[in-house]
Amino acid sequence: MYLKVRVIENRSIGHPAQGIFRLVLSGQAAKIAKPGQFLHIQVSDTYDPLLRRPLSIAGIDKNKEEITIYYKLLGRGTDLLTHFKENDYLSIMGPLGSEFTVPQQGELLLIAGGIGIFPLYSLIQAIDQEKVKIHLLWGGENIDFLESADLKYLVNSGVNVKISTMDGSLGHKGLVTDLLQEMVQDSSMIALRCNNLVSAACGPKGMLKATAEICLNNDIPLEVSLEERMACGIGACLGCVCTVRGADGTVKRKRVCKEGPVFRAKEVVWDAEC
């Protein structure tokens, strides 16, 4: 879809210094959006900055026809986006890209690094927690960031949350992958694995690579949501590719905007030398 959508809400949430915003958009795109997909948003009606901004969908309300997006103020594009007010209209393309698999029963392990939590929110929302038990490992810089990125929502949502922070201000001091390593070595893991354990992750590339290694070494199926600099958002320009290894062993490119952003971790080549 390529259309103008109305802004219902666009405001800073949590600690202002963290620069986290929640953007709620009205429109039919919510009817067809799936967890893991993104919207390609035009932040300026001039040609500087030129390109649209791909932002992952964090919440989908099909009945109210609303899509929720969280974003962190990082550069000119996100700065311009903060200026849109309630009842303004934004030009979007989307929903675009591939989606997370939504398990119908068993155990779901989510691993998030920083703002990588945002697309995972849409997956959590799509899960029937009566049938699927969600375990979330989430790492961030500090407690202020985690609170701003809506930790309270997670705690209230019934998800089993484990936290790590770089400065030790909340949870384990260190990396989220420390938590993952600890978890796969714990005896309780056996029960989870007997109950169809699958996993999904989003975060910085280094964190995803480490996560993929641990999950694949332990036979836990993993989907990852990748990020890459993007132009067209629909597979035409080949700007945002990632490298994958096909079943026959050959190395290929896939488009993060089209075949992705969600990929099976076992096909991703993390340190492509080409």
């Binding site: 030129l50 390109l51 600099r229 629909i234």
Partner: protein, 306 residues
């Protein structure tokens, strides 16, 4: 009442209107189909094809610059065989003129590519010869910056295909007119210009180039005045019809190129922002002609010249 004749003549290549899309920005025609019906367009130019498949360059391949975009895709494409087997049959079904863009690393490559596309291949309207890609280490732009090699490449292509041959020129030269004359001598039927301008962007935090390939091709509104100037110069110097491109984002931009001497305009980077830009541009050109009292869009070509 709409009564402007929008048909566009580029020698023997006749387009229903002067608005085409640029190679490398429009995939293989199917990506934009849900957003902009191809039947509206004068034509589309598909992603550059090389004899063998190419993975292209590593990422990051993109860097945004003021009103512009640097890219270093590096000619990622499925290769000649796969293109002919999997993409060409679908392209043949599109209700628009399909221009196939070819790219090589040696004159032999261009000979092979040219001989693989003929008029009897239904669905192909013309060949655009990329002698100007800035994103590959050997060949590519080298042909496009040396007049003698450019002439040889175009000659090789002309000898091996009966399709109209479009020579796509690089702006990364001291004298664009010299290049235009060289491809004219080589037998080109049409000239398209400009390809991207070689550029670079450095991240001041990491203190390293933003593109994995270090340098890339600049496109978008930022390059437009350079492109207009080159179209104007080439129109004065050679008699071949011109497809003008380089940062065209609005109908006003397109009209500017036509006044400079372009018989058709090619729409590239702006598609990424506004997938309906080609339609807006087409309607705007028609409206302009109507208001100014022209009965044919062909009448405005080159009007900026004495």
């Amino acid at each position: 009442m709409r009564n402007v004749d929008m048909r566009t003549e580029l020698g023997e290549l006749i387009l229903r209107n002067p608005v085409v899309t640029s190679s490398g920005t429009y995939g293989f025609g199917e990506e934009y189909a849900p957003y902009c019906p191809v039947s509206i367009l004068g034509g589309i130019t598909v992603k550059g094809i090389t004899p063998l498949p190419r993975l292209g360059n590593p990422v990051p391949r993109l860097a945004e610059t003021p009103s512009g975009l640097l890219n270093s895709v590096g000619l990622e494409n499925p290769g000649l065989v796969e293109f002919r087997n999997s993409y060409l049959p679908k392209l043949a079904l599109l209700d628009t003129a399909v221009i196939v863009n070819i790219s090589g690393f040696s004159p032999d490559d261009y000979t092979l590519l040219a001989s693989s596309f003929q008029k009897k291949d239904t669905g192909i309207a013309a060949l655009e010869v990329n002698i100007s890609c800035p994103n590959i280490k050997h060949g590519g732009m080298a042909f496009g910056t040396n007049p003698r090699s450019a002439e040889e490449v175009i000659e090789a292509v002309k000898k091996n295909t009966d399709l109209p041959v479009i020579a796509k020129l690089s702006p990364n030269v001291t004298d664009i007119v010299e290049m235009a004359k060289a491809v004219e001598s080589g037998g080109a039927d049409i000239i398209s210009l400009i390809n991207t301008l070689l550029g670079m962007s450095i991240d001041i935090q990491t203190q390293k180039p933003l593109l994995a390939n270090k340098m890339g091709g600049l496109s978008g509104p930022a390059v437009r005045p350079v492109a207009v100037r080159m179209v104007y110069q080439v129109y004065e110097a050679v008699g071949l019809p011109i497809v003008g491109m380089g940062g065209i984002s609005t109908w006003q931009d397109a009209v500017e190129f036509m006044l400079a001497g372009a018989s058709a305009v090619s729409i590239g980077t702006v598609n990424f922002v506004n997938p309906l830009a080609p339609v807006d541009i087409l309607n705007g050109i028609e409206e302009y002609c109507l208001k100014k009292g022209y009965r044919s869009v062909r009448e405005i070509v080159g009007l900026a010249h004495e």
